[in-house]
């Protein structure tokens, strides 16, 4: 299972990077979504998978073998929420960009660096 997920992470990273390299902003946003999900999975996998067992919560458990590590789950939860916020904001910016310029292409505008 870990191996499968690891391969999935790899595929997601590849797809994300490919999308980032396109000029369109929508594809850029999709790329960011891919990358952030790949990273979330990576963090989730970092403690190893323990199927079907609860996380130790009270802190008083003596034998930890039957429990899953709760920390990566908490981390991923936080990261997912942050990722959601970022994507929503990016979409809002994209909307403004489109209504200002009527274009989805970053290179349609004059470069900002050296006019």
């Amino acid at each position: 299972m870990e191996l499968l997920l690891a391969i999935l992470v790899g595929i997601l990273y590849t797809a994300g990077v490919y999308m980032l390299l396109r000029r369109s902003i929508v594809k850029f946003i999709i790329g960011i979504i891919f990358l952030s999900n790949a990273t979330n999975l990576l963090v989730f996998l970092s403690a190893g998978l323990t199927a079907g067992s609860p996380a130790f919560l009270t802190g008083k458990e003596t034998d930890i073998s039957g429990y899953a590590d709760p920390l990566p789950q908490a981390l991923v939860l936080t990261a997912v929420v942050i990722g959601l916020g970022i994507v929503v904001y990016l979409l809002a910016v994209k909307y403004r960009f489109f209504s200002e310029t009527g274009s989805d292409d970053l290179d349609q505008l004059k470069p900002t660096e050296n006019e």
């Binding site: 970092s46 310029t101 900002t112």
Partner: protein, 479 residues
């Protein structure tokens, strides 16, 4: 007291913002005094003991950064009263301004790497909003570039945290330091270290990763740019200093070589690009990059003196850089443009402004008796003592490039006659709210120069704490 400092502040809006930032300033001064007296302050939030709970740690380094960013916040909260696009943006601006400060201060005081990531995100999201505030075409374009690079940076950061947690099983910085000191699998640690380095490198705009900065920093309003220039990139530097002194210390040879290389290239590339520009904000943006090089150099020398020099330089640079941006904003308020070719004659019109520009500019170029001179002297001395001749000579030569760019702004804006075809504009007189922030920051620059030995003592103490991570580890884990 500390939580009060970071959480409560962003509720103030409008005029109240100033009292908020003054409060922040006072609190930071108190924290610095207490840290200098009693050593590291640490506490744990959430009812779990370290290393499981999230610890909050303030050592001299954090306290210094808190203080200097509070000074900048005070200056900018006054400066932004004259937000040129009218009052509509003001409440929004202050809201995100203070969330940004919340994120920055959180990043300075946290003792937990995931918590640091969360503060980075708080900071990033509010900086995204600030950089696109107003939604002009240029801003949208610069903003998207800024977002793209910074998002990739924070994903690197998160991936680094994940892998690191998989290897060590902890997220607490002190605990990590303890574990890694006993551990010698430097190859495995280096992979995470590289991910963290990329993340902070993108934030700090070091050599191969700086392209987003000049592409975006000149697009938003000058108030926002000054804020970003003074504080944001330096958070990356802070995180780098913290990580590479506390726990990525197994493989100093490899990392110090890398850091020297990066520091040298960052200085030279930034300095050369700056001298080719003719727009004040672009010159200054490239300058930020050039000076990040010095800070990395301090870290790379990796002796107490070198790190103290790096910290001193960072603190001086935060103040002086913000001030040059503020003054260039004043130039454009008076003459309506940032293009150096279209302004001129300001020395006659406003000698006060000329003096205000001269102080931070000379400080940046390293002319005694201002703060930049002492910062550079310490760095150069540390470099020679440690036998790093090449980087030290590069640093000295880059100082000349800095001087050249500053003289260029000075000549073009202040000395030469205003060109005929310049935009005619109704006369703009500088008011108190325009001048006060620059005066404040200039005063700090001069003070840092005059009391250089005291400042140096404090930074030296901070550096000693950094070079002996044992103290940090004990004060967190001992509780």
């Amino acid at each position: 007291m500390i939580l009060h400092l970071v959480i409560k502040n962003y509720r103030y809006i409008g005029i109240m913002a100033i009292s908020g930032s003054v409060l922040l300033l006072v609190t930071s001064i108190l924290i610095l005094i207490r840290v200098m007296k009693t050593g590291i302050i640490s506490t744990v939030v959430g009812g779990w003991d370290a290393p499981f709970g999230i610890s909050i740690v303030i050592d001299p380094l954090s306290a210094l950064f808190l203080l200097v960013s509070a000074i900048i916040v005070t200056a900018i909260s006054v400066y932004s009263l004259k937000f040129p696009e009218g009052k509509i943006y003001l409440p929004k601006f202050y809201f995100f301004f203070y969330t940004l400060i919340l994120g920055v201060n959180g990043a300075f005081i946290t003792g937990d790497i995931f918590n640091l990531y969360v503060w980075f995100e708080v900071m990033l999201l509010s900086s995204f909003v600030l950089i696109t505030l107003g939604f002009s075409k240029e801003q949208l374009k610069g903003g998207i570039k800024y977002m793209a690079l910074n998002l990739i940076g924070s994903l690197f950061f998160l991936a680094g945290i994940g892998l690191f947690y998989g290897k060590t099983g902890t997220l607490n910085m002190a605990h990590l330091g303890e574990i890694l000191m006993r551990d010698d699998q430097s190859i495995l640690v280096n992979s995470s270290a590289m991910l963290f380095f990329l993340a902070f490198g993108i934030k700090a705009a070091v050599f191969p990763l700086y392209f987003w900065l000049p592409a975006s920093y000149h697009t938003p309003d000058i108030t926002v740019t000054s804020l970003f220039a003074g504080i944001l990139t330096k958070v990356g530097i802070y995180a780098m200093i913290r990580f590479f002194t506390l726990f990525f210390v197994q493989d100093p040879l490899f990392w110090n070589e890398q850091l020297f290389l990066i520091a040298g290239f960052t200085m030279v590339m930034g300095g050369m690009a700056a001298s080719a520009q003719y727009e004040t904000r672009k010159i200054l943006s490239y300058h930020i990059i050039s000076q990040i090089g010095y800070m990395v150099m301090g870290l790379a020398i990796f002796t107490p003196l070198g790190i103290a020099g790096g910290i001193f330089f960072t603190l001086h640079n935060m103040v002086a850089k913000t001030n040059t941006f503020l003054v260039s904003g004043l130039i454009s308020r008076m003459q309506g443009t940032y293009e150096l070719k279209q302004v001129g004659g300001l020395f006659k019109k406003s000698p006060v402004l000329a003096v205000l520009f001269m102080i931070p500019a000379l400080a940046l170029a390293g002319i005694p008796p201002l703060s930049g001179f002492f910062a550079k002297v310490i760095l150069i001395k540390a470099g020679f003592e440690n036998g790093n001749y090449v980087i030290t000579i590069i640093a000295i030569l880059t100082g000349l490039l800095t001087l050249y760019s500053m003289i260029k702004i000075w000549n073009e804006a202040f000395l030469k006659q205003q060109p005929e075809e310049a935009v005619k504009r109704e006369k703009y007189t500088l008011r108190f709210a325009d001048l006060f922030p620059s005066v404040l920051l200039a005063a700090v620059t001069v003070m840092m120069g005059v009391f250089a030995s005291d400042v140096f003592d404090i930074t030296m103490k901070a550096a000693e704490y950094l070079m002996n991570p044992q103290i940090y580890i004990e004060s967190v884990m001992g509780k």
